[in-house]
Symmetry: C2
Subunit: 489 residues, 2 copies
Amino acid sequence: MSKNITKRAENFSKWYNDIIVHADLAENSGVRGCMVIKPYGFAIWEEMKKVLDQMFKESGHVNAYFPIFIPKSFFSKEASHVDGFAKECAVVTHYRLKNDADGRIVVDENAKLEEELIVRPTSETIIWDTYKKWIKSYRDLPLLINQWANVVRWEMRTRLFLRTSEFLWQEGHTAHETDKEAIEETKKILFIYKDFIEGTLGIPVIEGLKSDREKFAGAIDTYCVEALMQDGKALQAGTSHFLGQNFAKAFDVKFANRSGKLDYVWASSWGVSTRLIGALVMTHSDDRGLILPPKLAPYQVVLIPIYHSQEEYDAIVHKMNIISKELRALGIRVKEDFRDTYKPGWKFSEYEVKGVPVRIAMGPRDLANQTIEIVRRDNLEKQNINIADVNSVVMKMIDEMQTSLFLQAKSFQEKNTFIIDNFDDFKKKINLGGFVLAHWDGTSQTEDKIKKLTKATIRCIPISIKSEKGKCILTGNPSNQRVIFAKSY
Amino acid sequence: MSKNITKRAENFSKWYNDIIVHADLAENSGVRGCMVIKPYGFAIWEEMKKVLDQMFKESGHVNAYFPIFIPKSFFSKEASHVDGFAKECAVVTHYRLKNDADGRIVVDENAKLEEELIVRPTSETIIWDTYKKWIKSYRDLPLLINQWANVVRWEMRTRLFLRTSEFLWQEGHTAHETDKEAIEETKKILFIYKDFIEGTLGIPVIEGLKSDREKFAGAIDTYCVEALMQDGKALQAGTSHFLGQNFAKAFDVKFANRSGKLDYVWASSWGVSTRLIGALVMTHSDDRGLILPPKLAPYQVVLIPIYHSQEEYDAIVHKMNIISKELRALGIRVKEDFRDTYKPGWKFSEYEVKGVPVRIAMGPRDLANQTIEIVRRDNLEKQNINIADVNSVVMKMIDEMQTSLFLQAKSFQEKNTFIIDNFDDFKKKINLGGFVLAHWDGTSQTEDKIKKLTKATIRCIPISIKSEKGKCILTGNPSNQRVIFAKSY
């Protein structure tokens, strides 16, 4: 009955694409590297936005909107920023089309911009150019601003959700009086991300610092949360940067502090993107299709009638409408699929692939017995229960499934985290996949060598594990802490 | 106490800008023609989005996301579309920056796109290119999809919210089996817009059809809702287009209909934008600042303590926290401004300019009497009431203010709508401002002449007024219905 989905064990990458396509999440568009996020995929993003936006607001942040275009010269102002990553981007050079002599549409060469505009790859520069006007005194601080936006980074090799030329994200940009406050903010957001990704997406993450080599260009410190996918590769799920005074200096943003002296403002920036949908797929789904944590599922319950006659249809749909109404009253998102144009078997398969957490079916025998059949998507357990018990069973099932998905992923992560002290073992483990906790001497040189030899990078320097004296896995030089190595997306 | 706001009677346009700036809604950015929507302005847009998105979803629509870039060739496919308006737009020609020999950042000429990409001015073309893949049979219809997005139309003369090169909007794009269904959808959305703009924004609108000259390029019929601003100019508040089979033909989107035959799909598209914030300002605000309908106000109530000693501050803030908690429990959005860094008078002025509907203040005498002072923003009526009555008074005040703003604007619109049958009177009235209901012979030629002579355009052919035989205001040729003329934004 299942749609034609490649098995994970056969080809993980093809399996991933099959899920995205068959679950109707997204597809490639007619524009190189850009995706169309389909209604079902977008509904998941909307649920994510709703939860995360609420968390930002409860912690004192507000939303705003800054221009999509950034003058080219802005990128030159923060040197390390542009060296780091701002090169591959979409450049606007003209502002008009016209018909040529043959009536074809061409770019009007007379409408050339004096200065090229860059479609934002991230907004630090345009925002700090704006903050200069907003910040005069300590009384204007802190500024705790977030924006939900599209950004563009020209990518040569793209994968739906994981790496596309345009993607959707949120980017927070905050301004503070002191380094201490800015660092506190950076960490506060890191833990908001962790709570959100673990609590809502059900994806366990390890929080830590990026090495200098892996940190955001323009940041003093980049904090991140790292997740482990089912194929043993790591995925960076969110980053929070302490920017020091780098952008304030680049854009000359000074404020009168409490002693009346002028000082540069301290900053943080942080973001998560539609990439999280890719992480969601690769953490929970199985060979039958998508599995969605109930908290994010656009429909948490689907109702499917099974019938042979119009009479049966009417009676069952009548019952199902009552069930639906009661579930909705409890705040549950319900899909009634009462369409006569598709058979029940087709619908079963459809919602299985789409990862709807709970499926409720009712046939003529159920009608006679006042029962329904209920199936939980992740473990496929089937029960026949009395109609009177539907509400409580569904509520319990949704709660249990949310918890169970997290615990299962957590157990996977733990089983696939290895403490390694020997470089031969290291190479083997890295190749098989998983997080490898190993000592590192702290130099970029060693990091580069390890990457060349194994394709592994330092995912993070975890902040929750104890420091421990040891010897670097490659050089044998002294080390104070194990870091996480892995191959990554 | 008021900030320095130009009076409407002196210079309406300057007054408008003063309100936008002093109420902290938006500002011009460092990028020509693009605005920064500041947190307070963005919060109004968020409230609008929330209400309208809910209305779309309740009427069966879903959200999705399509690429921001459109290949140039797509614009050639629907000829009337591109002739109409798609010329002034941002053109992406390159995809990389690099450092030149002097270390300056320049466009990498080796990274030139084979085909230029246009930043979407509207998404019909990219969406219909996508729909081609989604629609095979009548079973795939209707498609009722909306997207919230940024769009870019290169504007030479810009005004905050009213006309900017980048703006935010929603654009719906639907696909149907029959012309009848597509027309029904077009009208359904028109009335959703009317309900939303009248019921939530408190702006009365007149719904009607655009003339051929004013309709959307690529549409068969454009429906619109038109509002009247305080200076007597009209503002198009939303449009809903019946596209016929134009885009389906241009992008070759056919479906197997119920008789098994292939037919082109029927379409609608529709949108409202951040322009509505401009309409909001110009409909309700006064010489003292912004006035916001309570349904959209980011804060519906502001609480301001008045005190001389720390003791008074503590006691009053304690009381106000209780009031705040109770109001929030009723679903009211409350701002507590307990900052010690600003004086009460400064705060009064601040929230007056920002249009917060209800201001509650409490001083030492109030504390002794268990009273508060409450002021409604639009009529500035001041009352002293007992603390025990705060909840009921606020609820009533908010309801009454919402209704009152609409009725006041409605009365203004009615007083400024004139039935005119003589061209000399027509010219005078048009010049003074307002909606002028006059007969028109139905030709574009006459419409153009009237525009040249008076600067007035046909805002719409109203659909709710009776047909009536008459003679064209300019040519004397026969006419079946009065249409609305006005100068417009």
